[in-house]
């Protein structure tokens, strides 16, 4: 049996991801997390001196704090198995990636283990965030200088 023949056989037999169900679940989970985030944002706006713009920072920090608790108590994994991208895409997923790696590498000590491996999974997101921010800002600056667009 050659590779191609086997690949078709494997495709036939391996259960497909239930796309529709996964999408619904991702929508509900992602929506739910953002809804909780919105409640927190409103909370900060109502009781503290934050505007819509400035409230997003403490909101994100609070969400990551919640993600830390859920990860530590072993619940985030279950939410992610149910919600898929709905749990990975919100900032809580980023928090989960950092927190889970930290907990995991605690056994190697705080410097080499936690410090060295904290961004094992989330590091690529930071890299591409910073790199693309630089590229986009540079391109926009050039375009503005040439008068193609304005700020």
């Amino acid at each position: 049996m050659d590779d191609k023949k086997y690949a078709t056989l494997e495709q036939e037999i391996s259960p497909k991801p239930p796309l529709f169900q996964n999408i619904i679940r991702a929508f509900l989970t992602g929506g739910m997390i953002c809804l909780v985030g919105q409640f927190i944002a409103v909370f900060y706006m109502t009781f503290f001196d934050f505007t819509e713009r400035t409230a997003s920072n403490p909101t994100v920090a609070t969400m990551i704090f919640i993600a830390m608790l859920l990860t530590g108590f072993g619940q985030y994994r279950k939410i992610a198995q149910f919600g898929g991208a709905g749990a990975a895409v919100p900032i809580t997923g980023f928090g989960n990636a950092v927190v889970s790696a930290s907990i995991e590498h605690k056994s190697e000590g705080y410097v080499l283990g936690v410090g060295g491996n904290m961004f094992k999974l989330a590091g690529s997101v930071i890299l591409f965030g910073v790199a693309s921010a630089f590229a986009v800002a540079l391109i926009k600056t050039i375009l503005v200088k040439f008068g193609v667009v304005s700020w």
């Binding site: 409640f39 409103v42 001196d49 819509e52 713009r53 400035t54 409230a55 608790l69």
Partner: protein, 150 residues
């Protein structure tokens, strides 16, 4: 061994409580954030010598607004407004437009217009409480909050 299990089950029970508590807080938040506001329409609190009729018309004519709270105080005009759901995409544009209109109508006043939730909330409070003392300070604070960037 046994002791450890007891501690563990305690934590698991705690966990359930924690989730319930979070839901409770969320519920409280809905209630709190829902009731501290003025309803639809234009609410003007004039604490100055300026004529507020003009402003009222400007706000009423704009169909994208749901509610407006405008406060006139000495040389300041601070307005907080709620924008219709899909007009929120153009929030900045609406703010700029209205600011320009108001500045044309009231050249003597310093105009601050914002669709920010916080401003709406604060202005609602001031109008509802008919606050007079420290009004100056409170308005200054609103303006300074808006200037913060991050």
């Amino acid at each position: 061994m046994n002791k450890k299990r007891i501690v563990l089950t305690y934590f698991y029970k705690k966990e359930g409580n924690a989730i319930r508590n979070v839901l409770l807080y969320v519920f409280i938040l809905i209630v709190l954030s829902g009731c501290a506001r003025l309803g639809e329409g234009v609410h003007i609190y004039n604490h100055s010598t300026a004529d507020s009729k003009l402003a009222e018309r400007i706000f009423e004519e704009d169909e994208r607004l749901v509610s407006t709270n405008a406060i006139f105080h000495n040389d300041d005009l601070v307005a907080g407004m709620t924008v219709k759901t899909f007009s929120r995409f153009h929030k900045e544009k609406i703010e700029k437009e209205l600011k320009k209109k108001l500045e044309e109508s009231y050249p003597n006043l310093t105009v601050t217009v914002s669709a920010d939730n916080k401003v709406v909330h604060k202005t609602s409070q001031i109008i509802q409480d008919k606050e007079e003392e420290q009004l100056d300070e409170k308005l200054k604070k609103i303006v300074s909050l808006l200037k913060e960037e991050t």
